[in-house]
Amino acid sequence: MHTVELQQVRKSYDKFVAVKDLSLKIEQGSIFGLLGPNGAGKTSTIRMMIGITVPDSGQVRMFGEPFKRDHLKRIGYLPETSGLYKRMKVSEQLVLFGQLRGLSATDAAARAKKWCERMDIAGWMDKKTEELSKGMQQKMQFIATLLHEPEFLIMDEPFSGLDPVNATLLKDVLLELNKEGRTILFSTHRMDQVERLCSAICLINRGEAVLQGTLKEIKGRYGRSNVQIEYEGTDEFLRENGLIQSFNNYGNYVEVRLAPGADSQKLLHMVAERSRVNKFELVEPSLEDIFIDVVGKTDA
């Protein structure tokens, strides 16, 4: 079953088309990445998913049936920027959000306490929200989306503003929730962050899906056409043409994208001739590489 199914969904604001006939399916229990640069239409898509806006055309299906407001109690949405009342106490605010999603006040309070302990902000529950740091507010917002134990979690840039320790904490919690069978949607422009988490993705650019499928399938499509080289000495080999389509040079380390049909062994010889090679590895392209490749083609 699919948790979410968008069918030819379209949304325009005046003359600007934010989402152009987008279709996608999110498998139940999967971690799905909705990826794309700023302004690609990610947030507009999410808003239609949860009924904040209504699509101009097309259909949104949720949990196997046409979207209805009742579904919202089974969804948790973490918005991109903090959406909290600044002057409310942390505990009161969490209880309010829990109640809005149908929990009783006592239930909400108990769950809020448990989660605050887990997320390491239990000591701040009696403080006003505005006294919390940005990272702590992000964690608080995260808790607010989880309190009602939703089946489907929408995370819009969840790691922004978090240090590595807290980002890992958040990631671990999300993976745990996913293991329990909950579906998770990541929306981000930081592709490296979700590359390792997602099982399927949809890449959108200018409101259109430019690439979608499971991560395995997509990467397989591109093959091991990238080479990572660690070298000492000259980087003249980068100027040898015919073999290299593009590269990203970091000094002693370079990532090379081979030209179609080019033989990686030829390149290895060429590098070894003039420099000392410490590492030469054929790898799958990163999502970012694929994205740049795809978007470069569609924009051209």
Binding site: Y13, R47, I50, G51, I52, T53, V54, R69, L72, K73, I75, Y77, P79, E80, T81, S82, G83, L84, Y85, K86, R87, M88, L96, F97, Q99, L100, R101, Q141, A144
Partner: protein, 427 residues
């Protein structure tokens, strides 16, 4: 319904817990009391310092007359002759000087300069015949003394000419006795004891209370919507509740704040309301019957609801505090119009102007309430105005929730009027 309650409670608690709520709830009536009642209380207190005045006139009889009339306490406090009434509460020392030579004029002027006396009345024979008397003092704008003096002079001159025509002194006093008109309100076929001037001040007092509070809270609702918009709380909220629930909660919360305020004011002022306050020589009982208090509550809360809804609509249509300030006039205009027409409405509460204004929902809270205070309008008019008010509040609410819903999702650029109209039709 559950969500509306949750939002209303949140809104209510946040407002009531603010220090500004407590301060304004107590400070506003205190300030109004200070501005209206206190000055007259201070003025009516006897001044310990007496003023020294010299009456310089060639006519000794005239001088004595003026002094007697000026010093004599009036038989009854008459609001229309404020000067005399007020002068009696201050103490004066009056001397009559029959020397009106130019040299004496110079001496008296010097005495005024050196604070020996406070002022002198210069009335030589020529000035008396021309009836052009001058009063010279350091404080030439002391209208109360001036008014009292001119009253005394007029009486002195009148009694002088009556005497010349052979009218006996007792008759003169009788002729000059002032007329006192006591204005009473007729209500339900009975003459009540609430006087006209008391009604006027009660109306004014409550109007200011309504005006300031409504203005303040509609702005505060506007700001709260703006805050939600800018911090994107709405995104979280709209993923659980509808914009109508959100709006209704917000506005009901504001109304609860209004009711709390009235409750506090009633508790604090109830013992005071029955007491008389002396103002302008008139003993005033605030015309606050139970009926009027109930009407005040009703119009206060409905006005609160209406203007909160208007504030919320504005808050969701603009993007920043600066922009919001430019649109504040939309809220203030009807309130200002009501305030401008207050005096004509009080004077002629049954006029077409008053009737029409009181039926315009945005003016109803202030104008209809004033009309009720001054002269109870026909029941159908009160009923109609209430129905229109409630109807407008309801439609404002649904218009607002539409503007809110779409306005908040369209941040970035200021909406044009046609766009706002389009939003109202949408969704």
């Amino acid at each position: 319904m559950h969500n509306i309650f949750l939002f209303a409670r949140r809104e209510y608690l946040e407002t009531v817990r603010k220090k500004s709520f407590i301060v304004m709830t107590i400070l506003l009536p205190a300030m109004m009391f200070g501005f209206t009642v206190l000055p007259s209380m201070i003025a009516s207190k006897k001044s310990t310092e007496s003023q020294k005045i010299v009456i310089a006139t060639s006519d000794r009889q005239f001088g004595d007359d003026v002094r007697d009339k000026f010093m004599k306490p009036p038989e009854k406090k008459v609001p229309a002759r404020r000067g005399a009434a007020d002068a009696s509460t201050r103490s004066f020392e009056v001397q009559v000087d029959t020397n009106v030579s130019p040299a004496e004029e110079t001496v008296l002027t010097a005495k005024v300069s050196s604070h020996e006396i406070d002022g002198y009345l210069w009335a030589p024979a020529s000035a008396l015949s021309e009836r052009k008397i001058s009063y010279r003092s350091r404080a030439s704008s002391d209208f109360e003394t001036l008014g009292a003096l001119s009253g005394a002079i007029r009486e002195a001159l009148l009694s002088q000419s009556f005497r010349k025509h052979g009218v006996p002194a007792e008759e003169v006093a009788d002729i000059l006795k002032p007329v006192n008109i006591d204005s009473k309100k007729v209500e339900n076929g009975r003459v009540t004891d609430s006087s006209g001037i008391a009604l006027f001040f009660t109306a004014l007092l409550l109007m200011i209370l309504l005006y300031v509070t409504i203005l303040m809270y509609s702005m505060s609702v506007m700001r709260s919507v703006l805050e939600e918009k800018n911090s994107r709380i709405f995104e979280v909220l709209l993923s659980t509740a509808t914009s109508k629930e959100l709006m209704a909660g917000k506005i009901l919360g504001a109304a609860a704040v209004g009711i709390t305020k009235i409750a506090i004011w009633t508790l604090v002022t109830a013992p005071l309301a029955a007491q008389s306050i002396s103002m302008f020589g008139e003993s005033i009982r605030l015309g606050l019957s139970i009926k009027n208090m109930i009407f005040f509550g009703v119009f206060f809360v409905l006005g609160f609801l209406l203007y909160s809804a208007l504030g919320a609509a504005l808050g969701s249509a603009v993007n920043s505090e600066q922009e919001a300030q430019q649109f504040q006039f939309v809220i203030m205009m009807p309130l200002i119009v009501s305030a401008i027409f207050l005096t004509p409405v009080i004077q002629q509460p049954h006029s077409t102007l008053a009737t029409v204004l009181s039926l315009i929902p945005f003016c109803t809270p202030l104008i209809m309430f004033t009309r009720i205070l001054v002269e109870t309008p026909p029941a159908w008019q009160i009923g109609l105005s209430l129905a229109l008010l409630v109807g407008t509040i309801y439609s404002m609410l649904s218009i607002c929730s539409r503007i809110y819903r779409i306005g908040i999702l369209m941040y970035g650029k200021r909406p044009t009027l046609p766009e706002i109209v389009k939003w109202m039709k949408y969704a």
